[in-house]
Symmetry: C2
DNA sequence: CGTGCTTACTTGAACACTCAATCAAGTGAG
DNA sequence: CTCACTTGATTGAGTGTTCAAGTAAGCACG
């Protein structure tokens, strides 16, 4: 049996992604972990600190737990981006569109400006974007010169999160698939434009 | 002084979008509305029914409260799409990236399959997409023949929701702007391809 | 006009319950 | 003897919801 601290952490990891942070009570975590409240509060000052520790696990686990399996046997950097998106599709599919991206769920669940938690969510998003940007940079020659790969990687995360949100709401993969198809088509057009045109419109000011 | 039922509804509308549904207690609503619990439960059987009524307000208010002001003085259908996105940008900016799209927040907040609520969220998303699709259909000649405008409208919503999520998390408009810039560039490329190519890749199967 | 009755709504205390968090007492290895 | 860790009952604030009692407007009947 694993040590108590880890049992609590994995229990929280599971429950937070299944029921969200607010809807998961400390008692739920204790039951799932087979621990007592005193033990939890021995390791973590508050429930929020459990969440922070879970978010650290996500931050550290993004490569070994998510990217490595998704990228197995996929070498082309652009295909890796879509393999990653496909991994999320698999999660949606396997859970009947119930669970998508836990980070995104928690991000929209917290409305109070909760500095440390928001910071960890930010770090998680940044890590995800950085890895995708890595793929895009590896394929930079396929895109028009001057393409902002960080902005494009951000757009990839946007596509994933926005698609997951709608698919979870409609309980259908349609919205997710339509979003990824849109992104794919965009990438195709960028690649097609790579040789012919100089650079696409960069960051565009959209308003006052 | 407005009738009690409306005061409760507007109070809930405000608090749900500020603090979310779960974090708003019935007592909060009553205080904000200046009403007593008995009055609330006279009009609404449960707290969830208050949420349903609020979501109906959103569904009915999308044109008069959101689209009409955003589209004032904007005639070009494609520009209307980006004017709508710009309206969300304004909301983010005015609230220091605290509040974005209330529907999206509530959608990710509720993890239990809560059929009536999820249905209303679905309806809200569908209404939004339908209006955007209306714009895209009006500009259909600018896009490659056979373009799936519903899928593209879904992708627009994806861009908005995904961008809002990240901007709220990072407390910066950067991610939202990068996402909208990506979408804009995609639309530009579609328009450029309209005359030359037949049709872009349609809905693309991404899974197993 | 006035009296009795119905109905719509308000009042706010009370209810049963859950919540995160605490703490005194205990365990067992080094 | 120490100290990291466990136990689980307990705390008290907060939760959604209920309810008996009360208010006031409207209507019918004489």
């Amino acid at each position: 049996m694993e040590p108590t601290r880890e049992r609590i952490l994995f229990a929280a990891l599971k429950l937070f992604s299944e029921k969200g942070y607010l809807s998961t009570s400390v008692a739920d975590i204790l039951k799932e972990a087979g621990a007592n409240s005193g033990s939890l509060y021995h390791f973590f000052p508050t429930k929020q600190d459990v969440l922070l520790a879970v978010l650290e696990m996500y931050r550290d686990g993004i490569y070994p737990m998510l990217l490595a399996p998704a990228w197995e046997g996929v070498d082309d950097p652009v295909e890796r981006v879509f393999a990653l998106l496909n991994a999320y599709r698999g999660m949606l599919k396997d859970t009947a569109c119930l669970y998508g991206c836990p980070i995104g769920s928690i991000a929209l669940e917290l409305h109070e400006p909760d500095p440390p938690v928001r910071e960890m969510l930010s770090v998680n998003f940044e890590g995800w974007v950085r890895h995708v940007k890595g793929c895009l940079d590896a394929a930079k020659s396929q895109f028009p010169a001057g393409t902002d790969t960080h902005a494009l990687a951000t757009f990839v995360l946007t596509t994933m999160e926005g698609g997951v949100m709608q698919s979870r709401t409609h309980r259908t993969l349609d919205a997710f698939d339509a979003s990824v198809a849109g992104l794919r088509n965009y990438v195709n057009l960028l690649q097609a434009a790579a040789g012919t045109v100089a650079a696409p419109a960069e960051r565009q000011e959209t308003g006052t």
